[in-house]
Each structure stands twice: as C-alpha cells, then as structure tokens.
C-alpha cells in the first residue's frame, strides 16, 4: 500500500508540474510542493448529514439549559468540551477534530440549504452550480486516471455548468458498489468494440444534427470514462467484499458505515473527492427516541474512518468533513422534535490541512444564535478550499459568460488551518 501511495505522489507532483500550479514561480515548484505536502490536504471525504443534524444533540450540547431535553452529554478528550452522549467515539478522539459550532446559513428549506452548502451559491433555476469535487478537478486537474476524480455516494448534485466531464460518479448503495461492471461472457473485447463502432455509425445523423448540444456531447466523455474504468484494476476499489471483515465490522456494516469504508477505498485509489450522504436527520418528531441510533451509526463509522486513515498514514493527506444544511431549533416542539433552524449549527473538520484539537466559534446559552466567531457557508467552504491549496480568487467563466469562484467571496478561517 505504501508503495502505491509513493508512486501516486510522484505522479501527482509530475502532474502538478504539467497541468496546473502556474500561479507559482517555476523555480519554487519543488519547494512549494514540499510545503504543500506538509500543510495541504490532497483529498476530501465529505460526510453530509441530509435533513439537518441537530447541533444541540451532537456537537453543541447545552447541558445547563432546558433546551437540552433528554439528550445526555459526554466529556471529550478536549478539557471543558462536551458532545452529545451518542458521540462516544468522536469524543474519545476529539483531539483529532476541529468542531465548528458557529455555522449559520440563509435558508431553512432543505433543498436550498443543501445546495448552498454543497455549491456555495444560492439555488436558482437558470444555472446549475458545481460542487466541491468538480471545482477541485477544475482548479487543480488530477492526472488522468481510470477512476473518476470525484464520487458521490447517495443522491447529490451534478457538475453544473462545468459539464459532464467533471461529473461525480454516483453510487447508490455502497454495499453494491458500482453495478453492471461485468461484461457478459460471450462478449469479447473485439465484439464490444464492434458494437460501439456500429453504434457510432447508426448515430452519425443525429450527432451531426446535435453537434452543438452540450447535453448530447457530454455523453462522449461519459462513454470514454466508462470504457476506461471497465478495463481498470481500480474497479476493485468499489467492491467492499474485498475488504477485511474486521475492518468492515469496525465501520459498522450499516449503509453509512459502508459508505465511509467505500470512501476510504476510493481515496486510496486516487479519488480526490468522495461525498457520503447520510439521510434521516430531519427529526421534527420524536427526536429523543430516534436520534441516538442515528448518531451512534454516524459516530461509529466516522470514528473508524478517521482512525483507519490515521493507521494507514493517510490522515495528513485526506481531509474529513462533516456538514449538514442547517441546525435545529432549541425549543422542542409539540411532537417531541426540533424544527429547522438556520441561525446556527455545527460542522466538523479533521485530517489533512486542518488544525485539529479545537472547538471554533460559540453559540449563546440555548444554541439559538451565534455569539462568537461566526462562520458563513462560504467561509466554511473557503476554509476547505484553502486546506486543499486551491486558489480562492480564481474565476471560472460559465458557458453563459458569468464569472464564479470556488468560495463565492468566503474568507477562510485561519484558525482552522495548518
């Protein structure tokens, strides 16, 4: 494994020289790379809690206040810092985490909140914005690989105006991995090529007619990626059955646990952005009944992921992010749940490029409002981009001529960065 990582690093630095770090003076390339190696992450595993994870019952408990309800708290490894009691594993490695308690956003509508977190832009109907994975690939192209540079586990957003070439590979159920990769036995390589060539012949007329259509042409990239991936050894990365049983168990063998494990396997193969979506946090009803199980599943998988990355010496290179669309109200509603609350919520960072062992920002006594060091969605994403060494000011012009930047004007939180 370590050999492979070394080989990849070599390739990567070569690729950087070829492709993209043109912002650096030539002579400094090596030095810059050395520095980058020390303080910048190369890959991201983004764990997204869809439905809005309650901050009070996880990362920002308020044991002194009535709003805490039935959720107990637990002391973490950082003196004076407590989590909700379901997060036992994360509490025990809190020195490896940076918890941001002072997030806030503009919307309490799920789709808009998720969209904002994942793209940094307000959802509008005339343009589709890309997520962080496609942005990474655009700003700092990785060398061509068999495996796509970004993967989404569970429903997420596409490449937006960057086009199909930057599309994350979507995986439905991580346990099933990538489906339909086995060619039928009768179908030889030669025969397959023949079929493709027949297809091209039959499609000629339509393709001529549609030559200006981005939508139609986008499929060329997808066909190319698919064919390359089908021939690749990297396909094995998608197969969790090849993983040691002990490791699988440690992640929990739940849907989310499998997602985290798959994410680690993919990152090992050079995937640079893996998003694992974990739904079911929209607890308007019976939060105190339903949250512990969900939070324990989250805790087990996330803790195992961080420990696993550390034990493989990958944690310096891989950033782990926990995000959600907004927070939940301090007041418990009549259905024993908590409603949407955009004015404050918690996120978490760990691994590559991140200054860990800290809690950043503070909310008031009920976790109703941010009191100190507020972090907007754009600031949060700017911090991630910064930890990856991506140029925040670089403008990308969409096909309709509008300029965009990865952070959309957000300021990185320096205290969170190495």
């Amino acid at each position: 494994m370590s050999e492979e990582i070394t080989r990849r690093r070599m390739m990567e630095s070569a690729a950087k020289a070829c492709f993209g770090v043109s912002i650096l003076p030539f002579g400094n390339l090596l030095a810059a790379h050395q520095q980058a190696r020390e303080s910048k992450a190369k890959a991201v595993i983004y764990l997204f809690m869809t439905g809005a994870m309650s901050q009070i019952d996880t990362f920002d408990p308020k044991p002194e206040s009535d709003v805490q309800g039935d959720t107990d708290v637990i002391q973490t490894k950082i003196p004076g810092v407590q989590f909700g009691s379901s997060l036992k594993g994360l509490a025990s490695i809190a020195d490896q985490l940076a918890v941001v308690r002072s997030m806030y956003t503009e919307t309490g509508v799920h789709e808009n909140g998720q969209y904002m977190m994942k793209t940094n832009y307000k959802k509008i109907a005339t343009t589709a914005h890309p997520g962080i994975g496609p942005w990474m690939q655009k700003l700092n192209p990785s060398p061509p690989r068999d495996i796509p540079p970004s993967v989404s586990i569970g429903q997420s957003i596409g490449p937006g105006y960057l086009g199909a070439n930057f599309a994350p590979l979507p995986i439905g159920d991580p346990k099933l991995g990538l489906q339909n990769t086995k060619s039928p036995g009768y179908l030889s390589e030669k025969n397959f090529r023949k079929r493709m060539s027949l297809s091209r012949t039959f499609d000629k007329k339509f393709r001529t007619k549609s030559r200006e259509s981005i939508m139609v042409n986008g499929y060329d990239d997808i066909y190319r990626d698919t064919l390359r991936l089908l021939k690749s050894e990297d396909l094995k990365a998608f197969d969790l059955k090849l993983e040691n049983e002990k490791v699988r168990k440690a992640y929990g063998e739940t849907r989310f646990g499998n997602g985290c494990l798959l994410a680690r396997r993919l990152v090992q193969k050079g995937v640079r952005f893996v998003e694992v979506n974990f739904g079911g946090w929209d607890m308007h009803n019976y939060l105190f009944r339903d949250l512990p199980e969900k939070a324990e599943e989250f805790d087990k998988a996330t803790t195992s992921l961080i420990k696993d990355l550390a034990s493989r010496n990958m944690l310096d290179d891989v950033m782990v992010v926990v995000g959600t669309e907004f927070g939940r109200k301090p007041n418990v509603n009549q259905n024993y749940g908590r409603d949407h609350h955009p004015s404050c919520y918690s996120c978490m960072l760990a691994g590559g490029g991140i200054r860990v062992g800290q809690v950043y920002g503070e909310t008031d006594e009920d976790s109703a409002n941010v009191e100190d060091n507020e972090v907007s969605v754009q600031d949060f994403n700017a911090t991630i981009a910064s930890a990856l060494g991506l140029p925040l000011e670089k403008e990308i012009v969409s096909p309709d001529g509008r300029p965009f930047t990865i952070a959309n004007g957000g300021e990185p939180v320096k205290e969170l960065l190495l």
């Binding site: 509508v109 596409g158 979507p170 079929r195 012949t201 139609v216 089908l230 509008r402």
Partner: protein, 637 residues
Amino acid sequence: MNRTPLRTALVVFSLLSICTLCETASGQARPGSQKGGAKKSGQKKPAKPKLPGSDPAHRKKITIQPVKANTLSSVLESAAKIDSLVANHLRGKGLKANPPIPDSVFVRRVYLDITGTIPTAKQAALFVSSKDGNKRQKLIDQLLNSPGYASHQYNYWANVMRVVDQPNGNIYIRPYSEWLKKNFRQNVPFDVWVRQMMTAEGKAWENPATGYFLRDSGMPLDNLSNTTRIFLGTQIGCAQCHDHPFDTWSQKDFYELAAFFGGLQTRDYRKGTSVPDLESKKEEDEIYTMRRLVRINRSKVWDNEKKYLKYPKDYAYENAKPGQVVKTGVLFGKTDIAKGAKRRVAFANWLTTGNERFATTVANRMWKRAFGIGLIEPLDDMNDQTDAAIPELMTYLAAEMKRLKYDLKEFQRILFNTKIYQRESTFKPLNPTADYDFTGPVLRRMTAEQVWDSLLTLTIARPDELVRPDDSSYIASINIKPGTTADSLLQQAVEHTEVTKADRALEREYMYKGRVLRRASEMKQPLPDSHFLRQFGQSDRKIVENSTEEGTVPQLLALFNGPVTHMMLEEGSVIYDDLVAANDKRKIDLIFYSLLSRAPSSTERATATKEIRESGRAGYGNVIWALLNTREFLFIQ
C-alpha cells in the same frame, strides 16, 4: 438485503447463458429458425423464467376517460390561436420557426410525451405509412385515451409532489399514490383533486387524498412552502424564518397563510379512537407489530377547530408578538371565509379560485411538459415582476385553463395539436440569460421513467396491463376496527405478518430474474437508489422535482451490461418474437422501427446487413445493442 450482490451476480450470469440473440457460438442460426442454437442436445435445460404478463391473471384492463369527440373543432381553434400568438412573437423578433417534423419524428415524440414510452415497431410503422390526412390529430386522441397517458402524467406529479408509499414505518399512504393514478385515468379536473387534497379528512385508506398532508406529517410549515411552490409557482420558504430577502413576503405573511392550517392534525390521540391499551401485551413477540399498527392507525388527518397557530417564541418583528394567535391571511388575491367554514376549506377556495397564479402555474407546467421549457422560468419562483417569454400567450393559456375547467387532458390535447409543437426541436444550447423564443420545442433527454418504460415496451406486450397487485388485504390487516381489544389486535398482528409475506410472494410473480417488470408508475414509490430507474435520474422523492436527466457512468454500465437491457434480447420478448415472425428482408427495418421508430437509411441498412451476414444470429443482437446505445435513442427530438 445481504444476498443482493450475490443474487445480482447470479442473475447476470444466468441471463447471459440463454441470451439467444447474443450467442456468438451459433453463428449460422437465425431467429427465424425456430430450432436455433440455443438448445443443446443432451443438456438438461433449466426451467425457463417467464416474463411477467404471460400469466393472464396478472393482466388487468385499465379504463380511461376518453377525450370528447365533439370538442375537436374547438381544440383546433385554440391550437390555431396559440400558433398565431407564437407567430406574432417570432415575427416581432425577426425569427423563423423551426421546420415542421416528419411523421417518424412526430410519432416517437408524441408517444413519449403523452404515454411516456416509445411506440412499438408496429405502431410507428402503421402511423408513418398511413395516408390519412388527419392522422396526427387522431393519434393524439388515441394516445390521450390510452392507459399510458395516466401513467406518464402520474410520474410527472409524483416527482413534483414527492409521492411515496410510506413516509416512514408509521404512515402508510400507498392509497394516495393509487388515488392520483385513478384521477389521471378518470381525468378528474386538476382543481378538483387539488381541492380534495387540501380539505381531506380521515385515514389514508379511508380517504386517500389525505396522503398529501400525511406525506409531511409533523412538518406542516414545510408542507405549506411546497404547496405554494407547486400550485402557485411562488416560493415563500424563506419567510418561514424571516422576511423574504428578495421577494415581498414577510414572516408575518407566511404565518398568516399557515394560520389556515392552525387546526390541522395528522395524528389522532383523542380518546375514543379505537386503539386498545397494549400494556398487558408487552411481553409478546408481536408487541412491535402491534405498536406499529397502532401508530399507523393514529396517522389520520383531522381538524382541531379549537387550535390556532401562534407566532413563534423567537418572532423578532414589530408587527406581531411572540405567542400571539395568528389571523389568517392570503398572499395575493382574495379569500372569502364564510362564517363557520373550516379554515382549510377557505384556503382551498383561495388556492384554486381566489388568485391568478393557480391557473398560470399549471398551464405553464403543462406547456413545459410539451415543449421542454416553460413560458415562465423558473416555473416555481414567480413574483410580481415575472414576465413570461411570450406574455400574451401565457395570458391566453391561463384563460384556456380556466375555460376548460382545469381539464388537463383537453388542455394538452390543444398543445399537441399546435403547429409549433409539431416543429423540429431546437438542438442548440439555450441562452440562460435570455428567454427562449419558442421556435419549436427544445431537445430533451428521456426522463428515467421514459427510458425504463421504453425498454419495457421492447420487452413485454401491452405493459400497461401489468399493475401493482392491489393492497386491499394489506389494508384490511392494518386497519384497527372499532371495538378491537388487545387480544384481537394480537391476532391481527399475526395475520398482518402473514399478509405481508403473501404480498411479497405475489410481488415475486411480477419478477423476471429478480426484477419486477412493470411500468415505472406501477413500481414501489420511491425505488432504492441502486435501481435502474434511480440510476437514470428518477427522484428519491425527498425534495420537489428532484429528478435529473444528466448522464452518468452507472447509466452506461446498465446499458452495456445490465440485465434490464438484456431481457429484450431473449426469447419471449416483444422485439425477439417480432423478429422471429418477420420475413428476413424485413428484419432490419423492424429493428430500426422498434428502437428508433424510423426506417434505416441506405448506409445504415448496408452496415446492419453486413454485420448480420458476418455474425449471424448474434448480429441481430449486436445491431439492437448498438441502436440502444445511440444518443438518438436516449434523446427526444
């Protein structure tokens, strides 16, 4: 669940071993020769899986409310009016409409747009060769009168309204999904079924329209945001927490609208509800099932007329106080709350008759379905400044919608009969900063449902007749009747488990090699995210209109290697059997008509002929596979 990957592998494997149009070994055998190379003497043949539908017991005739013959002239008049409005607009801009489309493009497009599937080879060829001067308008009527109309319409609204069978284990609303389909089959006017949803009371199996609120049980404010977005094209979600930053809505406006639902309840804990006390049964194995049955029965829509919405504790504006009771109020237009009328009835009145946006929104939605893009975009975020791309046309369409009393079928009949619909699609990418000028429809990729249903059309004869087994015995097993005691509920829980098992067994009868083969509208709602339909972009039904038509690697893998595309290359499939029956000279035409609804060009014919000469039987499979993997197949021209 644990067995799925293994089972998938087995399915793939077993599929291929008999994939008779793919075998390379039997080069000389043709589908025409009944004793093809598939049979190998001396070998025991495994029991052949049958395609669902071969058992007549699984087929059900669906009746559809047909369009009226005597309104045709008025339909054509309206269509002509639309054409003149578009023509005026184009003239004013100095633009020319796209050229008219030939019959082969029309037939494929109109089948996909009205029934959600490509036509069969026979349907396409029959239409193209017909000499009837009115054949287009006749085909439009025929399709609007077919079951596919309701299926396709349902898929659209299920995506918009996030229809699911069970929002969670404690709420069962499949009857709601079936009720929606029934509305489309019977062509119940749009305003009528929307009003029914807004005012419905009871359990989902007593009054399926309650599904609209039960879908969002415990989330009445989100539900309201979706209601205005879906039916009024207006987004007020931001105002749920604070004054809308870009629109006129204040948080007070939001709360005043929400006040119409101040008494709405989706759970029933009242005394006298026939739910027994389970304390004495807590040691029983079935206690979890019993409790679940109780919770399912408590999921019920009713109004507590004594309950009123109050401003939230953190209400920060001067115009009202936290904790103060909110008075009802509407966003625009007017409402007439008759004294004593229920608040939800008043809301329904306002929603469906008290404002202009209701008609505009649904007219624009139907226009977008036919043309691929709305006259107003985005269609669910209008404000006072919103202008339609062709304002006079939008006004006319909204007026027509009202004149037709929200008869969506008749409205679409008009759209499909316009000349502008029957023009070539615009292939160029649209300018997202400017309105589209409607020189014709726009090029679209098939929706996930259209891809799936089209593959089904190639595989199973009359797939519309395969519907979900009805859930009446399931409902009987969950419904707690008055007078039920703890003992009888225990018995019911045991029976319920049996019924669930039997239902699962029945579902397996619709499977072909582990996969249920029914139209998308007759599948579980929603499907697991590893399903073919989800891979092709069907919504997870979590958020409004969450479907996507973007291409992905797993889609291509499914087309290359997936069992779903191979099923149509096997004996018993529509295209296979058609090929066997066809004269050798007609076989290539048949394949092109089956996949692309058109005859091959001379070059294409030569290429296909050469391939079949070289590869024999497998050549047919190769040509079919190749056509399936064209962009022409996947896009609606």
